[in-house]
């Protein structure tokens, strides 16, 4: 558990400048979001299944106000910090999984890419504190 917290803290510090979060739904302090596969630093050939891991919280559909539950968003090559007071953007680099998906088939052009998960609440806002995974880097052959 100590380990988990340390990783979470590290992820928060590197991934997101902590600002005022007025909109976000509260998340348990021990919520832990992570990418099960691919592991950080992997080289992948072609398309792959990205699998999303979440501990101490549940996955639900967007729009559902179930307590301590949210839905996944996968950020691909996103460098701008997330605005905690805005819904998570929707475009080709912010993929939404509002139907409650826990994995996705990802196809990226060859080269280095970063992947990061963010959990969104019923209205697609980040939680408070943000539930965000470590940003990993993979290489597509």
């Amino acid at each position: 558990m100590k380990n988990t917290r340390a990783i979470l803290a590290a992820a928060l510090l590197t991934g997101l400048p902590v600002a005022a979060y007025s909109q976000g739904t509260t998340a348990p302090a021990d919520a832990f979001l992570y990418i099960i596969w691919p592991p950080d630093g992997t080289t992948v050939k072609g398309a792959f299944w990205c699998r999303f891991g979440l501990r101490n919280m549940g996955v639900t559909q967007a729009g559902s106000n179930a307590v301590n539950s949210g839905h996944h968003h996968l950020l691909i090559d996103v460098n701008e910090p997330l605005d905690p007071n805005e819904p998570i953007p929707q475009d080709k680099t912010h993929l939404h999984f509002g139907a409650g998906q826990t994995e996705a088939r990802i196809e990226l052009p060859p080269g280095k890419h970063t992947l990061q998960l963010v959990l969104g609440d019923a209205r697609h806002y980040p939680f408070n504190p943000p539930v965000i995974s470590k940003k990993i880097t993979i290489t597509i052959k």
Partner: protein, 529 residues
């Protein structure tokens, strides 16, 4: 995802009550289609009228269940408290039997008040089971029972194995519900909902109303709409709002019409200057009998004016797609039939008419003349279905090809105005200074394209009829919507005020989960001519 509490290989009875071990001499195993059914809300029905419900259930068993099973060569294994378990050799027969039972129940229920309806939930699975003279056991039975458990009342859910066997043999529509983890079964089961009529698929996601109720509702809705519209029109005369500015005639003129209108009220079409291709869309003559109670000619006249301003788009052939993004390849030729498309995205005001009619479930916030936003595809579908019904015009979402053809306005360039980004042409992040990030601008804030259409690129995402396909490999070339049964994600077009200029391009395309709302997603409507 936790892998805990999974028990595999253990053999359970259907209700999980008994855990009988198989006979010592080795059980008889066989492949069979298992049909599990139960009555939804049985204890509620029993509480309501114990003897009456029991008598009806017994009668249904005798008159409906047993003969239908026999007719489809099924074998009744047993009756459970509120349902039954049956076994078939053929999955086709099992599903046919399930459909017949469900449809017969609809007939039996219609004469009764809603709270007395007996609705079965049915699951069908094809699996290897252990057969004993008076029962069957095994995973296969459990899965059928789990499918039944997740089925909606009145529905038939089948597993992927059954679907594979029946998909080309039974003329039904099948809605994929994805893979479901079911209790005590290790591997997820792919689940399909069987819709007896292929046409029912498009309606599958909206609420289904009993016909009688709908008729009553429609009358009251139209009455409400009439009153609401008068109010709205008064407001509008004061505001000179842009969206219905072309509305001809006064409400007094149309509501005082004593007999059916000889010619329908003209559609509110405004001809923008310098746009030769714009003309009034064709009218569908209204042929309502004089004594018809619903809708009256006057209310239909008013309802017709609920149609937003439409612009006719001539047919033609164009190169759809681009080389700018993998999803837009390959560029391919598409021929479009003439159609009409709304001049602006649908506004909050226009949407609220549907909410007032209780036909759209999403209640929006935001300014009246702003685009309606935060819609799922299913929401957008509710709107076009409602508008079609009240106006008696076949209003629909545009197809993806129609949308791009309309957005290009006859041009081949990157943007409709040229290859370079220009200020004051579209609302996007990075298009203009100053930039308002919190909400979309009111519709029609920038220049129209050569077809006279506003906001075809930027300001608000627009749902179209097509299912998402990651590129155009295999896309239709006749301008029709590219749809398939297995459609959990639909195409969005136009980009929104939140996206960068790349999304403003007429060929840019993206997608989103069909059932999920997002704050930048709205719609515009179309109609075939």
């Amino acid at each position: 995802m936790s892998d805990a509490d999974r028990t595999r290989g253990q053999i359970h009875s259907i209700r999980g009550g008994k855990d009988d071990p198989p006979p010592p001499e080795g059980p008889l195993r066989r492949l069979a289609s298992i049909l599990a059914a139960d009555i939804s809300g049985y204890s509620r029905l029993m509480e309501l009228d114990e003897e009456g419900t029991y008598a009806r259930v017994i009668r249904q068993r005798r008159e409906l269940i047993e003969p239908t099973l026999a007719e489809h060569h099924g074998k009744l294994i047993k009756y459970t408290g509120d349902g039954f378990l049956a076994m078939f050799d053929s999955p086709v027969e099992a599903v046919r039997c399930a459909i017949v039972i469900q449809q017969s129940m609809v007939g039996r229920n219609t004469s009764l008040p809603r709270e007395q309806w007996i609705l079965y939930r049915i699951g069908v699975h094809l699996g290897d089971v252990i057969v004993e003279p008076s029962d069957v056991y095994g995973d296969g039975v459990n899965i059928a029972a789990r499918l039944e458990g997740i089925a909606s009342p009145g529905d038939v859910y089948v597993s992927g194995g059954v679907y594979e066997q029946i998909k080309n043999k039974l003329v039904c529509a099948y809605q994929s519900l994805g893979d479901r983890q079911v209790k005590n079964i290790t591997d997820p089961v792919s689940v399909y909902r069987v819709l007896p009529d292929p046409a029912a698929l498009s309606q599958a996601r909206r609420k289904r109303w009993p016909v009688a109720l709908l008729a009553v509702l429609l009358v009251s809705v139209i009455a409400i709409l009439g009153g609401w519209y008068l109010l709205l029109l008064q407001k509008q005369i004061a505001n000179q709002g842009p969206t219905l500015a072309g509305t001809p005639g006064s409400p007094a003129a149309s509501s005082s019409a004593p007999q059916p209108l000889p010619t329908p009220a003209p559609m509110p079409v405004e001809k923008p200057k310098g746009s030769p291709s714009v003309s009034a869309p064709a009218q569908v003559p209204l042929e309502k009998p004089k004594e018809s109670s619903s809708p009256t000619p006057a209310t239909v006249g008013i309802a017709a004016q609920l149609i937003p301003e439409m612009v006719s788009i001539p047919g033609g052939t164009f190169a759809m797609g681009s080389e700018d993004d993998p999803s837009e390849k390959p560029t391919h030729r598409v021929t479009i039939k003439p159609f009409a498309i709304s001049k602006f995205p649908i506004t909050v005001r226009e949407w609220n008419a549907c909410v007032a009619a209780k036909s759209c479930t999403y209640v929006p916030t935001g300014k009246d003349d702003g685009p309606i936003a935060n819609l799922s595809w299913a929401d957008a579908q509710q709107f076009v279905e409602w508008l079609s019904k009240v106006t008696q015009k076949p209003v629909r979402l545009p197809t993806e090809a129609e949308w791009e053809y309309a957005a290009r306005g006859g041009t081949r360039s990157k943007f409709w105005w040229g290859d370079q980004l220009q200020a004051a042409m579209a609302n996007c992040k990075g298009c203009n200074e100053p930039y308002e990030s919190s909400q979309p601008l009111k519709v029609g804030s920038f220049k129209p394209n050569p077809f006279g259409l506003y906001d075809m690129g930027g300001n608000i995402h627009q749902w179209v009829a097509d299912c998402w396909h990651k590129n155009y490999q295999g896309a239709p070339s006749d301008g029709s919507a590219w749809v398939d049964n297995d459609c959990l994600s639909h195409v969005i077009r136009s980009g929104s005020w939140k996206n960068d200029p790349n999304y403003v391009r007429p060929s840019s395309r993206d997608h989103y989960d069909t059932s999920v709302r997002y704050p930048t997603h709205g719609l515009r409507i179309a109609q075939s001519l």
